[in-house]
């Protein structure tokens, strides 16, 4: 008896109980599909985030300082020193927080960012109308605001928002610029942002602390040099690296990659459990099948089937069940991932061949592992007892 005949026998065994076979396969189908869908969506989301970060340019540095009082703040003098360097093209201090903003009777929650004009350039934000924050706004601590498109649409529906009044925690600001819609970035939606001069924020909050600065390095290859310059500057100021950190894009990307890889593993692992449950379902059904077919096994053995003939017959059955389930699961997984990508914007699953291969390999292995016990039980039956079985 060769493999082909064993395969034929196994298939006819499956065909003899179609409904039961389909239900058994369902466990594997769901398991494989779940693994593929979840891992694909996670990697897809990761990919889109990393793409977005890379699109911001890889030459940004983010400086954060900690500490109490004026110690934990960057000074104007320091920032001016840094601005004067040729390898630093942009520098934007950032003071941000979430606030309700009002115009007339409309209210919306917004992300208020106290900053300078460079912020727009570094975050690839463009104006659709009006002007940006000007140097005189910074110096004069003026009450002007550049607002995101969603804020404009909500608060000034159908009207031109320019020169209108915007209330930020009770203080009036004049809208001078309107940002083009650009979707979300790593730090939230750009469309619900309100940009105002950082100096104005300092006055309103009665707090001059600047603890966060984004720096745009002129050329990407100068990033390490600028970073080490900033590190040595801050180290001499604070005496310890505990009081500040400097993130560059690559560091951010690798942190993100690590986190999401862990996430994918976790999600895949949870889905893998359902695959395991499916495997137990296969074992269960195979055991029932062995009992049901005790007589058949007895007849086959009496006629001259060896242990391995019976073993392979049942093993082929469970492997065919799990592999067919695996293949259907792959098709379903890829299909559903695509469907989600079409229905949900910003969530495009990325089906990697390795995930498909692993999911299929795992389902095949489950067929073998959970098939061995029932198949072995079948092949070990004593032909005399098996023939007598009613």
């Amino acid at each position: 008896m060769n493999l082909l005949q064993a395969l034929k026998m196994g298939l006819s065994g499956i065909a003899a109980n179609k409904m039961r076979s389909v239900l058994t396969m369902l466990g594997i189908i769901i398991g494989v599909a779940a693994v593929i869908i979840l891992v694909s969506l996670t990697t897809g989301a990761t990919q889109s985030i990393t793409d977005r970060i890379s699109s911001m340019g890889s030459n940004l540095l983010m400086v954060n300082v900690f500490g109490r009082g004026n110690i934990g703040s960057l000074t104007e003098a320091e920032m001016n020193d840094w601005r004067e360097r040729e390898d630093i093209a942009y520098l934007a201090p950032i003071i941000n927080g979430n606030q309700e903003v009002k115009a007339g009777t409309e209210t919306i929650s917004a992300n208020i960012v106290g900053t300078v004009d460079d912020y727009l350039l570094m975050n690839s934000l463009t104006l659709s109308a009006g002007r940006s924050l000007a140097d005189m706004d910074i110096l004069g601590r003026t009450h002007v605001a550049v607002i995101g498109s969603e804020i404009a649409d909500t608060l000034y529906e159908g009207e031109d928002p320019l020169d209108k009044i915007l209330k930020v925690s009770g203080v009036n600001f004049k809208v001078v610029g309107l940002l083009e819609s650009s979707g979300s970035s790593m730090t939230g939606s750009n469309d619900t942002r309100v940009l105002i001069p950082y100096t104005t924020v300092q006055r309103l909050l009665q707090n001059a602390r600047i603890s966060q600065v984004t720096i745009g390095v002129a050329e990407a290859e100068q990033v390490p040099a600028v970073k080490s310059y900033l590190e040595s500057e801050l180290l001499s100021k604070y005496g310890s690296s505990d009081y500040f950190n400097i993130f560059d894009q690559t560091e951010l990307l690798s942190t993100l990659a690590e986190t999401t890889a862990l996430m994918a593993l976790l999600v895949g692992g949870i889905a893998g459990i359902s695959l395991l449950v499916g495997g137990i379902g296969i074992m269960n059904i195979m055991l029932v099948s062995v009992t049901e077919r005790t007589r058949e096994i007895g007849i086959r053995k009496a006629i001259g089937a060896k242990k391995r003939h019976i073993l392979s017959q049942f093993l082929v059955e469970s492997v065919v069940l799990s592999c067919t389930g695996g293949l259907i699961g792959i098709a379903a997984g890829i299909g559903i991932t695509r469907l989600v990508g079409m229905l949900v914007t910003d969530l495009n699953g990325l089906v990697s061949p390795s995930v498909v291969a692993i999911a299929f390999g795992f389902s095949a292995a489950i067929g073998i592992i959970f098939g061995v016990y029932p198949a072995n039980k079948a092949s070990s039956l004593n032909p005399i007892d098996a023939l007598r079985y009613q």
Binding site: M1, Q5, I299, R300, A302, G304, K306, K307, I384
Partner: protein, 247 residues
Amino acid sequence: MLEMSNISKIYQMGDESLYALQDVSLRVAEGEFVAIIGPSGSGKSTLMNLIGCLDVPSTGTYKLDGKDVSDLSGDQQAVIRNEKIGFIFQNFNLLTKLTALENVELPLLYRNTSSDERRRRALDALKQVGLSDRAGHKPMELSGGQQQRVAIARALAGDPPILLADEPIGNLDSTSGKEVTDLMHSLHRQGHTIILITHNQEQANEASRKVSLYDGRIISDQKVCHESDADTQAASASAPDGKRVSQ
């Protein structure tokens, strides 16, 4: 062909040893038609299991076709069963999901026979039992007698030296039973060695030799005289002790 000497089969029931067969010796020559007869509990089934290599004796030796088969592993027994024994069961034991032809092919499936060869030999065997036209039918679509004939074809397909029939007409009505009995006689005439296990005297009397079992022992072993071959055996029948061959 078949040679059993001092065979015993002992079952251990707790502390007690139960002798299913005790010191049984039996020789069957090629071409014989032997009926083994006995009431239930006499050890018929045990003897059949031993002859059919489904079981091994506790003591004694069993030679089948010149090969000692008294102490074989499960797989070795399977090979012997496949090559040397053609089983015919009381309840036919056909696989209900396979067609008659596929059932007959089964013993060849467990040898390395090509599918063409398998088909040819299975069809031959079906022809021998007169069921060529039922090759594609499932057992359920056949009458009892036809099913048993398919089972006989299956036993014949592997061309084994011995056909071992266990109450082959026990589940059949008299007409079908006659059909099957006639078929077995014609196979015997063609030179097949047949061992028939039965509890039915009438049936046993149709064989050429009758071995009676009682309580695990052989109590008689005699040649049977038939009306059909009365002419040829008339001389020997009249001779004193002509019927008795061995003890």
